[in-house]
């Protein structure tokens, strides 16, 4: 029997695969609700953001054009900008942080979980096109859509938010909650959540738990990144010059620098050394810091004077604002690589763990 089987003519041992472009229609038809809803909702939000942005930019240009700045009229404008406009800007900035999670989880979570939950995977994954092409095409098409939409929306948001980076003290492009809302990282994180969602859907096989797990994973990764990884990107510098990190050398270090620029770097850590370059002991540091102002009273000495007196140098590790774009690409890069790895793992799971 075996010999007969082998002797059979094999007219089409390797049939030409079903072309990739067919998946465009398939993906569009199957995911029309997602592919229509995301641009529609983001488009509507973009119009709102644009209108608000015009207002804020108008208020901002009126404010910086106001002379003399100490006049009552100008102070009223300043107060209005710092209160009304800033509360809008701050609220939207916080809401923006939810974008990658919501976009990614709701586009990615159901992608495979719906097929598994309803049993249609038995139809979809036994068609001639094969599971690999089917999965790769869907991940790429919808992934590009959500990441692209996220990038465009966050570009608009960056324009909207620009005045606050100049106006608000200590608000730098590197600040938590600001850095992640810029296009490169925003798009990358959205893509990551999307692929995590697809993978979770494949593993859990149910839509709602997959979405919840995805949101949990995103929260964990965000915390890890903001609290730990962000500080270890290889872009930080070290200085002992207080003015570089926005610490006034004439006033106490805890007072507001109020420099009014967005060029404040992001300070990661600070430490003290003695004259020989060895780390200062804690008791020595305490002595120095004891000279700092207490309970809001005027200090007798400035910090600089105190440091000089004890021959102690204060050092800062910081990230200058000029490193903003390298930072964006470092974070965008690793997040993108992780997304691709998870997408590859998802395709592998679809091929090997279907039933």
């Amino acid at each position: 029997m075996t010999t007969l089987t082998v002797a059979q003519p094999r007219p089409q041992t390797a049939p030409r695969p079903v072309p990739w472009h067919r998946m465009v229609w398939v993906t569009w038809r199957q995911h029309r609700p997602t592919m229509v809803t995301i641009p529609t909702v983001l488009g509507a939000l973009a119009i709102f953001l644009w209108i608000m942005g015009l207002r804020i930019h108008h208020d901002w240009s009126t404010l910086i054009g106001c002379h003399p700045f100490q006049s009552n009229a100008c102070q009223a404008l300043n107060s209005s900008f710092n209160n009304t406009d800033w509360s809008i800007g701050n609220t939207l900035d916080i809401l923006m942080n939810l974008g990658p999670a919501l976009l990614g989880a709701f586009a990615g979570g159901p992608l495979l979980a719906r097929e598994l939950e309803t049993g249609t995977f038995r139809y979809a994954w036994t068609q001639g096109i094969g599971r690999r092409r089917w999965t790769v095409a869907k991940l790429v098409l919808i992934g590009v859509l959500v990441a692209g939409a996220a990038a465009a929306f966050s570009a608009l948001f960056s324009w909207f938010f620009q005045p606050f980076l100049v106006q608000q003290p200590f608000m730098t492009p590197l600040a938590n909650g600001v850095f992640g809302n810029r296009p490169v990282t925003y798009a990358a994180w959205t893509l990551l959540v999307f692929t995590v969602g697809a993978c979770a859907g494949m593993l859990i096989r149910r839509i709602v738990p997959a979405i919840l797990v995805t949101l949990g994973v995103y929260t964990g990764l965000q915390l890890l990144t903001r609290l730990v990884l962000f500080k270890s990107y290889p872009v930080s510098l070290v200085t002992s010059n207080p003015s570089v990190v926005g610490v006034s050398s004439t006033l106490s270090s805890s007072a507001s620098a109020a420099s009014g620029t967005s060029n404040l770097p992001w300070t990661l850590s600070t430490w003290y050394t003695t004259r020989g370059g060895t780390p200062a002991s804690q008791s020595l540091i305490n002595k120095v810091l004891a000279l700092e102002p207490q309970n809001g009273q005027q200090p007798k000495y400035t910090v600089a004077q105190a440091l000089a007196h004890y021959h102690v140098t204060e050092w800062w590790r910081y990230i200058p604002v000029s490193r903003f774009w390298p930072m964006q690409f470092i974070e965008g890069g690793w997040v993108l690589v992780l997304s691709i790895l998870i997408a590859v793992a998802t395709v592998w799971l679809v091929r090997h763990r279907a039933a």
């Binding site: 089987t5 695969p17 995977f121 038995r122």
Partner: protein, 293 residues
């Protein structure tokens, strides 16, 4: 017809610690309507999932359409599978399901599919989810047949259908076999409705294969011997019957043998249903093997 449409050797699938199917060796020639019969949990779906590439075997090998590996593009291309409950995208219209399936396959006979649906009075504009169970099964069958497969695998296609819809469904399958020469494998937990159409039988129970062969041959090889219970033990030893039924002084033995029998014994042909039930009820061969060893 020497081509093996399905050939398996020692095929098995284990989920966790329990085997859903083990040691399944089959060689089904092309051109048959194969009935895969067994109670729920016998391993029918597991076997089908491995054949269509949805599940990877834990043990053994399987080839389809001659040399093809399950799940390979050549195999996917030549096989159409309709899973249990005929899954279709409920939010897509019938017309969309046609386009979807056409886009997902190299071959799709749109004209034929439309004509079949028109013949069945299934409206193209209707959402698939709004169709009746019978119509949904017919839609799934239409989509599968339009791919012009060499092998059609249907998992419990009749379970959800009323008797009339079953009749219609089976006649559609038979027509496709006659017209296009499609080989069909059809699973069911009830043999009754397949008895008239199936010409190849595979009986599965408790994750193992009990019987496989061309129906005609199986019926010819088996017979029921009826004779005095006093002599039954001799025959039981010699012929190792599939089933022994004692009814007072008389004993019925279902045997796979054409050996000589005593004058007191009568031999009668067996029906397909009796045969199937006997093999389903027979103790697991694995247990017998163990005892023998």
């Amino acid at each position: 017809m020497n081509l093996s449409i399905i050939e398996t050797a020692g095929l098995g699938k284990r989920y966790g610690h329990s085997w859903a199917l083990r040691d399944c060796t089959l060689d089904i020639p092309a051109g048959h309507l194969t009935a895969l019969v067994g109670p729920n949990g016998a391993g029918k779906t597991t076997l089908m999932n491995m054949l269509v590439g949805l599940a990877t075997p834990t043990a053994g090998t399987a080839t389809l359409l001659g040399p093809e590996t399950p799940g390979s593009s050549a195999a996917l291309d030549g096989i159409a599978f309709v899973a249990q409950d005929s899954p279709v995208y409920k939010n897509l219209s019938v017309a969309d399901m046609l386009h979807l399936t056409r886009n997902l396959n190299r071959t799709f006979d749109m004209g034929n599919a439309r004509a079949r649906l028109a013949g069945l009075k299934i409206p193209l504009k209707k959402k698939s989810g709004k169709l009746s169970g019978g119509q949904q099964a017919q839609l799934a069958l239409t989509l599968a047949l339009a791919r012009r497969p060499q092998l059609l695998i249907l998992d419990e296609p009749l379970a959800a259908l009323d008797p009339l819809a079953r009749q219609d469904f089976l006649s559609s399958v038979m027509t496709a076999m006659a017209d296009d020469g499609v080989s069909v494998v059809l699973s069911s937990h009830a043999l009754a409705e397949l008895e008239r159409v199936a010409d190849y039988l595979v009986v599965l129970a408790e994750g193992e294969m009990r019987l496989a062969g061309v129906v005609e041959d199986l019926l010819a090889q088996h017979r029921i011997l009826t004779g005095p219970s006093a002599e039954a033990d001799v025959y039981t030893k010699r012929l190792s019957p599939v089933q022994v039924k004692r009814a007072g002084a008389q004993t019925h033995l279902l045997v796979r043998s054409d050996g000589p029998i005593g004058a007191d014994w009568e031999s009668a042909p067996v029906s397909l249903e009796e045969l199937t039930l006997a093999y389903l009820r027979a103790p697991a061969t694995r247990a017998i093997d163990k005892e023998a060893a």
